[in-house]
Structure formats: C-alpha cells, structure tokens
C-alpha cells in the first residue's frame, strides 16, 4: 500500500483514538480520564469523516463530546474526593489484561489477511477491499428521509425517542433528593461511622 494523504490521516486519527483510549483506562486521575475520553471520541469522529459519513461525525461531536462526555465530567465533579483512588485496578487485572489481549489476537487473526498464508480459509477476502463504490452525493438527505419513512426506520426512530424519554424520567427519579434524605446512609463494609 502506498502512503497517500488519506492513509496518513487514517493513521493519525487511529493513533489518536487508541492512544487516548488507553489513557482513559489507565489514568489515575479520573478527571484526566474524562478529558482523554473526549480526545478518543474526537478521533472516532475523524474516522467517520474518512468513511464518508459526515452526518455521523457531526452527531459524534455534538452528542458524544458535547453531551455524554460533559455529563460524565459533571458526574466526576459531583463525586468529590474520589478522583484519586489508591488502587486503580481490582485484583484480577492481570487475568483481565490477558483475556483482552487474547480476544484482540483472535479478532485480528480473523479480520486481517495475515492468516491466509498459514492456510486458514480466506472467507475474509472482502476485507482487503480498498476501492469501494462511491457514496451517493445526497446520502445525508436520503438518511434523513429514511429515518422518518414508515418503510424504513420510522418505528425504531420512534422507539428510540420513547427510550430517551424513559431514560430521562428514570434519571430524574433516581437522583431525586427528596426520597433519599430520610433513609440513613449505609457506609461500606469495614468502615465504622
């Protein structure tokens, strides 16, 4: 594969996504984790642009970075004094790391053409495709129309709106301070109050 501008941009955004993703999981300060999460989400938005899905890239920036990541950061600020827990990972983290690495290696052996030389069935030959058909210029308009078209995605669209409504009501009810006040605070085990 010759180095084109596109592959260079892909490398930059892929490295941004993965590097920031690793830092999300490994930073000791939770607030920094939140900021790295925003970087990682931004890298994914860049990959969406490369994949000719500008509408989803916009969604990614507005919904994920603008709403979800900010919500997480606000929640981090609302739980003070806990951004620096002494032990970052639980006791099984080495087993978990091994499991994650094994899953990654299995996935890579299936989705990349590397294993074809060993004689593994190359059902994944499509995955080396690098000249897909062009996307129609009006794909964004078509997507908007199909989302509210009864023949396409109108039902899931409405179900998603009901789901968001239910989640909003549920979140408000869960954090409603009125009902939590008269119940005594139960400290975690091993901590005398």
């Amino acid at each position: 594969m010759d180095i084109t501008i596109e592959s260079l941009v892909f490398l930059i955004f892929g490295a941004l996504t993965l590097g920031a993703g690793v830092l999300v999981v490994t930073s000791r300060n939770l607030f920094h984790s939140g900021l790295y999460l925003m970087m990682s989400l931004f890298g994914v938005a860049g990959l969406f642009v490369l994949l000719a899905a500008p509408l989803l890239a916009g969604f990614q920036v507005v919904v994920y970075i603008g709403a979800i990541a900010i919500l997480i950061i606000v929640a981090i600020m609302l739980t003070p004094g806990l951004t620096q827990i002494k032990t970052l990972f639980n006791e099984q983290w080495m087993v978990n790391l091994a499991a994650a690495v094994i899953v990654f290696l299995v996935l890579v052996s299936v989705i990349t053409p590397l294993m074809d030389d060993v004689g593994v069935d190359n059902w994944n030959a499509d995955f080396t495709e690098d000249h897909p058909k062009a996307v129609a210029a009006d794909s964004m308009t078509t997507l908007g129309e199909q989302l509210v078209d009864p023949d396409y995605f109108m039902l899931p669209f409405e179900v998603a709106s009901v789901l968001l409504m239910a989640a909003m009501i549920g979140a408000v009810l869960l954090v409603n301070p009125g009902q939590a006040e008269d119940e005594s605070v139960v400290p975690p085990e091993g901590e005398e109050v």
Binding site: T128, E129, D130, P132, S139, A160, P188
Partner: protein, 102 residues
C-alpha cells in the same frame, strides 16, 4: 483508500481496551467511560462495513445513529445510579455496591 481490515483492527483494539477497563477498573464512572469506548468501537465497525460493503443502502449509518441514542440513554441512567449510590454510601467504587448481594 485504506483497506477495510485496518478500520476493523482499530475497532477491535478499541473494543479490547474498553473491555479491559470494564473488567478491571474499580471506579464505577471509569467503568461507564470504558463502556463508551466499546460502543464507539461498534460504531466504527458499523460505519466501516456500510462504507465498504453496501454504500448504496444506508442501514449501517442508521444503526450507528440508534447506537448514539442508546448510548445517551445508558449514560444518563448509569450516572444517575452512580450519583444515587454515592449519596447513600459515599463511594463510587463498584465493589461497595453490594446492598443486594446475598
């Protein structure tokens, strides 16, 4: 263009990083952030398969849009649960959420 499997490798790596975070972090908010990473890996896969295998039909993009909606709902409820837990037990460590443990 970049071949499809490179996008799939990035998505697989992001998914595994998120999986390690979900399994290993003790802080519940960090677990939620790792879940966001996993959902993003799924979204990369959906959009990449749409672009390379069926660019004339928009199902992949529509699915990714619904994943956004589900992720927003999941984050809102998850953070509400964590803040509620923090109010009651003054802790966001996932191990301390053992009120319903036998």
């Amino acid at each position: 263009m970049v071949p499809l499997w490179m996008y799939l490798v990035v998505a697989a790596a992001l998914f595994c990083v998120g999986m390690f975070g979900v399994l290993s972090r003790r802080n519940a908010i960090a677990i939620l952030m790792s879940i966001e990473l996993m959902l993003n890996a799924v979204n990369i896969n959906l959009v990449a398969f749409w672009r390379y295998q069926a660019p004339e039909r928009l199902n992949g993009q529509a699915f990714a849009a619904f994943v956004f909606a589900v992720a927003a709902a999941e984050t809102a409820v998850g953070l509400a649960l964590i803040i509620s837990l923090y109010r009651r037990r003054k802790s966001v460590v996932a191990d301390d959420a053992n009120l319903m443990k036998w």
